[in-house]
């Protein structure tokens, strides 16, 4: 192979169309030796560091919220015990939606959306607290909630992957149907959980940390490993990023889509147990609008709504930010209406910041590095 064109090659009258990506590659990223020289910093500025940069920004938001809390309620924040208890309370508040959000993150990275998560949580919660199910004890209740969650997820996935329904439509229909079924099963009544093991999930601490927080941590870690270290995660990114390319590379896109919704259903089943434990009861109307909470957290966590890219950690930070805002408004005795307006504002701001980051800002950084290097 030759680097310079041999004598027989006639150059075209004009040079071929220039791919800007190529010039960028030649300029900003230059040669491997350049990349090696900048070392770890180049990773930070590069594509793989993007998620980390964004997550750090979210941590910054959390710190700011903490500072606002400390400034407005210095009486409470001056007590370290209270601060620690409050942080745990925020994590507990985030735990149920957090588990749902892990499933939602997978679905969205995989190019879909699941509007039925709240309804699945309600259905699984109601089903696992019927008198009949409760008679089988904690194991039976957990088993039931998880089976119901996965089964509903499989129905969603089948409709979408093999029935070729748009995810939005299929899961919207499931939202309505699952809540209807939950109301039918519960006869619109509140079903009290008599099981002390289940109820204990929400009231027990291990080493000073609530069990709910351990569950959240376990689901998040499992989700992170699944997304970043396994073939399942790799397929998720491929299917969401470019379904046609995934299909032509031999990946069974339909089966994987099915599994993604089943995974979301599984997370909903786990969340149903957690929520039932917290409320020591279940009813068809519970977990109302969790789908919006989860989607909002996924978005501000930096996952592309169009699929193909996203992080579990970002989603987790999104959930925690929302929980912190709720907490902040509660401890200041401010109205829920104002709280919801601020949450809406945060979603818009997060997306705007992302756009700026992707567009002009990242370009600005690259240009800057070009001139300085």
């Amino acid at each position: 192979m030759t680097d310079s064109p041999p004598a027989t090659t006639q150059l075209p009258a004009q040079s071929p169309p220039v791919d800007p990506a190529e010039t960028e590659a030649a300029g900003a990223h230059a040669t491997p030796s350049h990349a090696a020289a900048t070392g770890r910093l180049s990773w930070w500025h590069g594509d793989s560091g993007e998620g980390a940069r964004r997550n750090l920004a979210l941590v910054g938001v959390l710190v700011a919220l903490f500072a606002i809390g400390a400034a407005t309620r210095s009486d409470l924040y001056s007590n370290p015990d209270w601060v620690w208890a409050n942080m745990l309370s925020i994590l507990k508040l985030a735990s149920v939606v957090g588990v749902v959000t892990v499933g939602m993150t997978f679905v969205i990275i995989g190019g879909g959306i699941d509007l039925s998560v709240g309804a699945i949580v309600a259905l699984a919660g109601v089903w696992c607290t019927t008198v009949a199910t409760q008679s089988f004890g904690a194991g039976g209740m957990i088993f039931t909630a998880i089976v119901v969650g996965v089964a509903v997820g499989l129905v969603n996935g089948t409709l979408i992957a093999y029935g070729r329904l748009v995810p939005f439509i299929a899961t919207l229909a499931m939202l309505v149907a699952a809540r209807g079924l939950a109301a039918e099963i519960s006869d619109k009544q509140t079903q009290i959980s008599q099981n002390s093991t289940i109820n204990g999930i929400a009231s027990t601490n291990l080493l000073g940390i609530p069990v709910l927080v351990y569950i959240l941590a376990a689901v998040v870690i499992a989700g992170w490993v699944l997304l970043n270290r396994t073939t399942f995660g790799r397929r998720t990114v491929a299917v969401g990023g470019n379904p046609e390319a995934a299909r032509l590379a031999g990946i069974d896109v339909k089966r994987h889509t099915l599994l993604l919704y089943a995974l979301s259903g599984l997370c909903c089943g786990i969340a149903a147990i957690m929520l039932t434990a917290q409320a020591t009861s279940a009813q068809a109307g519970m977990a109302n609008l969790y789908e919006l909470d989860a989607i909002a957290a996924v978005i501000i966590g930096g996952t592309l709504l169009s699929g193909g890219r996203g992080t579990i950690i970002g989603s987790l930070l999104g959930v925690i930010i929302f929980a912190t805002i709720t907490n902040l408004f509660a401890i200041n005795g401010l109205s829920i209406e104002a709280q919801n307006m601020v949450k809406g504002g945060i979603i818009v701001a997060a997306v705007l910041i992302q756009q700026v980051q992707f567009g002009s800002l990242s370009l600005f950084f690259r240009r800057n590095r070009l001139t300085t290097s």
Binding site: M1, T2, D3, P5, P6, T8, T9, Q10, L11, P12, A13, Q14, P16, P17, V18, D19, P20, A21, E22, E24, A25, H29, T31, P32, A35, G46, D47, S48, V225, R229, T230, T231, F232, R234, V237, A238, G241, N242, E244, A245, A246, R247, L248, A249, G250, I251, D252, G308, R309
Partner: protein, 525 residues
């Protein structure tokens, strides 16, 4: 446009005698870039009143962008657009329409649930005091339809209820309702049956007789011969020939301007006397209605088989069907003697097939993902135990491929988005090298790849064959097929019209086959 390779003929010829009338539209050095692509790269165009000016060019040559510039959808980055002697820059489609330029897009932009008259006058309904004057609108529509020779279409009929040809007439009625002086038609015959095309031509002739200029875009040369006055050819966003007489220019010249043999490539030598291996791929009687019919072919281990044919000849569809991405209506695909399950990419991949599809970015790559993950897209599960990927081994394997293909940049953690076209193609080919693929399907492997990288890709492909991989190659560029393949199949309109050793064919023969077919009627298929 200082020098032209190949024939050395002047780019802009004197207007043909048949064309009279003033120049209504003139484009000089028009450039339009989008992020990632230079869609127009110096376009020249001259259209006269009352002529049918044909635009020729392959997919991606810039025709659509050019139309959109004229229709006011895009504004050129540089260059001059003169409309009836005045430099213009249309801010939006309405402005172009007001100036008298109407565009009839391939996907007709009609509102299906409005009437014929409402569609014809959409956006400029005759009105008084804010109320649409329906009677007047219907009357005008009837008049226009009469002018188009279609007085039988009722102005009140819903457009949804009309056949494709009728809808096209409504689009033209809309153009005339604006008193257009230039009508751009983007592949108008694509949606029409044969006899309807005649009717379309009649209408076009009537329009031009009234002094209206028509820009006509079509892949079908015979149509251009029949209706066109002059031809301008685009390639890679650039005018490669302008104002050729539509009837007399040899097909060969038109095609070579389109496929742009602007450079000579260096092809690796075919190995002398190397014995080919077993028959790997056996395709028999493969058919998909409207795409290709009764295609049979074989590829041996170590053999490169090329398919020559224009866009629309069914070649890409054939590749995808062999690969299982489309399901054949009849016929079989066998790999090493075993029939492949139809419509299953997974089965094809397991049997040892791999494909580099035509549209690299939309069909093959995860642009935001790192190189190594793209290289291992089809094989990552091999580096996994219990579903957990051994990232170190995966990267090392990808690195080995990157090394052997001389990918640049060599850092496999870099996003594929940042690579040049040629290196992106290496990623796709490398994906299948890693998989131990026995038969590689390459669809337009060098599209958008620059000169140096092309030579490297040719080397890679030849090297693969030398290692016993069978290759089935599709390319619009005849020299590429002839230079690279051992054996060549020529496809036209969904059928294989000729199979021969590459050495037995020359470019002219293939071009004649590809375009006309009539010259070689009765040739062995």
């Amino acid at each position: 446009m200082s020098e032209q390779p190949d024939s050395g003929a002047p780019l802009v010829e004197a207007p043909a005698d048949t064309v009279a009338g003033e120049v209504v539209l003139r484009l000089t050095d028009v450039v339009k870039t989008f992020p990632g692509v230079r869609a127009l790269d110096g376009v020249q165009l001259e259209v006269r009143a009352g002529e049918v000016h044909c635009l020729l060019g392959q997919n991606g040559a810039g025709k659509s962008t050019l139309i959109k510039v004229l229709a006011g959808v895009h504004r050129p980055d540089s260059g001059l657009v003169e409309w009836r002697g005045q430099p213009v820059s249309f801010a939006n489609p309405q402005a172009a329409m007001r100036a008298g330029i109407a565009t009839i897009y391939q996907e007709l932009d009609l509102v299906a649930d409005l009437s014929v008259a409402e569609n014809a006058f959409l956006g400029h309904e005759p009105r008084r005091l804010g109320f649409v004057r329906r009677g007047q609108m219907a009357r005008h529509t009837r008049q226009i339809l009469g002018r188009l020779g279609h007085a039988e279409i009722p102005p009140g009929r819903m457009v949804r209820a009309l056949p494709a040809a009728g809808k096209q007439v409504v689009s033209m009625a809309r153009a005339l309702s604006h008193e257009a002086r230039l009508i751009i038609m983007d592949e108008p015959s694509a949606v029409l049956a044969h006899d309807e095309v005649e009717n379309l031509f009649r209408i076009i002739r009537e329009l031009t007789a009234q002094g209206i200029a028509v820009i006509y875009i079509s892949h079908r040369l015979e149509e251009i011969r029949e209706i066109g006055d002059r031809v301008t050819v685009l390639k890679d966003g650039r005018t490669t020939a302008a104002n050729l007489p539509a009837r007399d220019t040899p097909t060969r010249e038109l095609v070579s301007r389109m496929t742009g043999r602007t450079i000579e490539y260096v092809f690796p030598d075919r190995p002398e006397g190397s014995a080919l291996g077993e028959e790997l791929l056996q395709v028999e009687g493969l058919t998909r209605a409207g795409e290709f019919a009764d295609v049979s072919l074989t590829v041996r281990a170590g053999e490169i088989v090329g398919i020559a044919g224009l866009v629309g000849s069914g070649r890409s569809e054939l590749m995808e069907t062999i690969y299982g991405a489309r399901r054949a209506e009849s016929g079989t695909v066998r790999m090493a003697g075993r029939a492949l399950r139809p419509g299953s990419v997974g089965a094809a991949v397991r049997a040892g097939l791999g494909m580099a599809p035509e549209e690299r970015k939309s069909q093959a790559l995860l642009l935001g993902e790192p190189i190594y993950r793209n290289v291992t897209l089809a094989t990552f599960s091999r580096y996994a135990r219990f579903g957990f990927i051994d990232a170190g081994r995966e990267q090392a394997e990808a690195d080995r491929i990157a090394e052997s293909l001389e990918m640049r940049p060599r850092d496999v953690r870099r996003a594929v988005r940042t690579l040049s076209g040629g290196n992106q193609q290496k990623v796709v080919v490398g994906r299948w090298l890693l998989g131990g693929t026995k038969l590689l399907l390459l669809d337009e492997p060098t599209r958008g790849v620059d000169v140096g990288a092309r030579a490297e890709l040719y080397q890679v492909i030849r090297q693969l064959a030398a290692e016993g991989v069978g290759v089935l190659l599709v390319s619009s560029e005849v020299p590429e097929v002839l230079g690279l393949a051992d054996r060549v199949l020529v496809m036209r309109e969904g059928r294989v019209v000729r199979t021969a050793q590459a050495g037995e064919l020359d470019e002219n023969t293939v071009l004649d086959l590809v375009m006309a077919g009539s010259l070689m009627e009765g040739a062995p298929a």
